[in-house]
Symmetry: C2
Subunit: 364 residues, 2 copies
Amino acid sequence: SNMIKVAVVGGEGIGPEVTDQSHRILKWFSARRGVPVSLREAQYGLIPYLATGKVLPDDTVEAMEEADAILWGATGGPETTEVPAAARKAGSLLSLRSKYDLYANLRPIVASPALADSAPLKASVLKDVDFIIIRELTSGIYFGEPRGIETLPDGQRRGFNTQQYTTSQIRRVARTAFELARTRKGRVCSVDKANVLETSVLWREEVTALHQAEFSDVELTHLYVDNAAMQIVRAPSQFDVMVTCNIFGDILSDCAAMASGSLGMLPSVSLGPPDRLGRRKALYEPVHGSAPDIAGKGIANPLGSILSVAMMLRITLNRPDDAVLLEKAVDAALAGGARTADIAEPGARKLSTQEMGDAVLNAL
Amino acid sequence: SNMIKVAVVGGEGIGPEVTDQSHRILKWFSARRGVPVSLREAQYGLIPYLATGKVLPDDTVEAMEEADAILWGATGGPETTEVPAAARKAGSLLSLRSKYDLYANLRPIVASPALADSAPLKASVLKDVDFIIIRELTSGIYFGEPRGIETLPDGQRRGFNTQQYTTSQIRRVARTAFELARTRKGRVCSVDKANVLETSVLWREEVTALHQAEFSDVELTHLYVDNAAMQIVRAPSQFDVMVTCNIFGDILSDCAAMASGSLGMLPSVSLGPPDRLGRRKALYEPVHGSAPDIAGKGIANPLGSILSVAMMLRITLNRPDDAVLLEKAVDAALAGGARTADIAEPGARKLSTQEMGDAVLNAL
Ligand SMILES: CC(C)[C@H](C(=O)O)[C@@H](O)C(=O)O
Ligand SMILES: CC(C)[C@H](C(=O)O)[C@@H](O)C(=O)O
C-alpha cells in the first residue's frame, strides 16, 4: 500500500503531553489534507517496565520495526530511579539510534520573529537565522571502544573513552549535508578540531574529498569547534548547513538553541541509511528532554514536537507544501500571541500545552 | 631576591602588537607602584626559526624556565606555512602547556557595561555576568594515547583519539576551582557528560568526593556539557566558577566569549602545580589567537593582553589592589568611549592598538 507507517511513542516526562498535540496535528493532516499515514501508538518507559520488565516492550519494538517514521516524545533520564539502570540501558535512546543506524541527526535552528523579545540574543543578531545542524549520531566518542574505568597499580582510577570515525561513517553523514545544502542555500560548514585531533584531521580530509568528487557545486568551509560555538552566538545568520561529529553536535545544537528563542521550539529528525528507493527510516523528536520538573502539569511547549511533524511532512511524507502550511500555522499562532510558559514575556497570559495545540490547529 | 621574574614573549601575528601594550602597562606598575618585577623579553616563532631552526630558541626556553610568570602573546597557527610542521610542533603552545604542567587554565568572563551595545547578547542577559571557567589543560582528549589514523583491512581509514582522566588529574584541577570559589561567591559548577562518557562518570565522582572531603562549605552543582552551553548563552549571570575538562573548556570558553562583548577582551592564565610556598608557574595570555588577517596593522584590541596583566597582578604578584586599579582603568577607558575596531559601534572612531594602550595608561 502507499500508506506511510508512523509509530507514535510519547515516552516519559512531558513526552506524552507534547506528543498528544503533535499527534492531533498529524491526524488533522491525514483527515483534512489526505496525507496517507497509518498511525500506531506504542508505549515506552516506566509504565511498560512495571507491566513487562522492559522499558521498550515487544509490542513497541514491533511498531518501531515496521514504521517508516517514529514520532518520539522523550525519555526519563537518570532521575527516574524506579527503573534499574540495566533495563533502562537496554531500551535507551542511544541503543535505538544504534539499532536503526540513525546516523544523521538534523536540527534546524530558525529564529521566530515573534519570539525575538523573549530570546537572550538581540533581534538584530537573530535576523535571518535559518540553518540546520547535522550531527553524526551513531559513532564518535558516544560509541567508541575501548571505554571504561580502571584501577591503576598505584590505586588511582583512570577513566577512558575512544573518539573514533571511519571513512564511510564520515562520508555518509557529509553526503546528507551536501544533498541537503543543494535544496537550501548551497553552503556547508564542516566543524572539527583538526588542529588537535587525528579524528578531526581524517574528518576534514574525507569531507573535502567527497566535496571535490561529487559536490563541488556546494560551497564548503571548515571551522574549529571552539570558533563555531562563538560564531553561532555572534552571528548565527551566516550558516546554512553545519555538519559535525556526535559530541560536537550535541554541544553546538544546544548552544544554537538560544538563537531560536527557546529549546522548547526545536524539532529534530534522525535518519538512517537510504534504501534502494532513497527512503530512510526516521525518528522525529523535539530537541528538549523529558523535563521531569514540569511533567504532568500540562504546561510544556508542544511546538518542538509539532514542528517535528512539519519535518516529517517534508522528509518522510514528501509533502513540502503541507510542511510549509504547518510551519506558517505555528508562526501565525505565535504572531497572534500564543505563548506557553517557557516563551512568555513576564505578565503575559500563558497557554497550556493543549491550548497551544488548539492555537496551531485554529491557524491551520 | 624578592623580584618576580616575568618572561615577555609576544610571539606571532598580532601577539607582539598587543603584548607591547601590556608590557608598557606592566612597566608602569613596576615604576609607579613599585611592583617588584624583573622583565625579560624573548622571541618566539618564524623570526627565531629562520635564525636558529627553532620556533622556541634556547634563549627563550631559558627565559621561560627561570620565569615565575610568562606574558605570552599568540602563536601563528596552521596558516604560517613557512615553518615546517615538525619544527612548529616541537615548540607549540600544547607542548609548553605540557612541559610546564600548566593544568589549570582560568578564563574569566566579565561583561563590561560599556560594551553591552555592541554585544550579541541583550543587556538584560549580560547584567551581573562575572564568572570564571577553569579548563583542565594538560590531559583529556588533547593528550590521550593511543591516537592516530590507521588503514583498515578493507582499505578504509579510521581516526581515533583517547579521552582520559585519572583521579589525581581530576582532583587537582577541581581543587583549584574550589579554592578560587572560596575567594569569590562560593559556588562551583562542574561540567561533564556523565550520562554518556565513563571519563565523565569518574570526573563527577572525584569532584564530588573532593568536595565532601575538603570543600563542603562551597556549593557544588553539576551540569551536562550540552545544557551548560545553553545556560551560558541563556543566563550567564548564574555562574561563579565553572570547572571542566580540556575539550569541553575549549568550546565553552569560546561560547562564553560573547557574554563579554568580544573575544579581544578576554584574558587568561594557565597555572602549574603549587610549590612548597604555594607559588605556581603561570602563563598569562589573551584568549584570542594570532589573527593573521589583521597582524601588522596596529588595529588589534590589546585589552585581552592588558587584562591578563591584571590577572598577573592578582595571582603571581599578589597585588590585588593593583589588579583592581588596572581593571578600573580599563573600565574607565571603555566608559570614556575608547574602542578598537572589534568593539566599535558603526561610525564610531576606532583607536589603534597603541592608542588603546594610551587610553588605559591615561586612566591609571
Ligand atoms: C540524553 C543524551 C544521551 C542525549 C545525547 O547526548 O545525545 C541528548 O543530550 C540529545 O542531544 O539527544
Ligand atoms: C590553538 C588551539 C590548539 C588551542 C586549544 O584548543 O587549546 C586554542 O583554541 C585555545 O583555546 O587555546
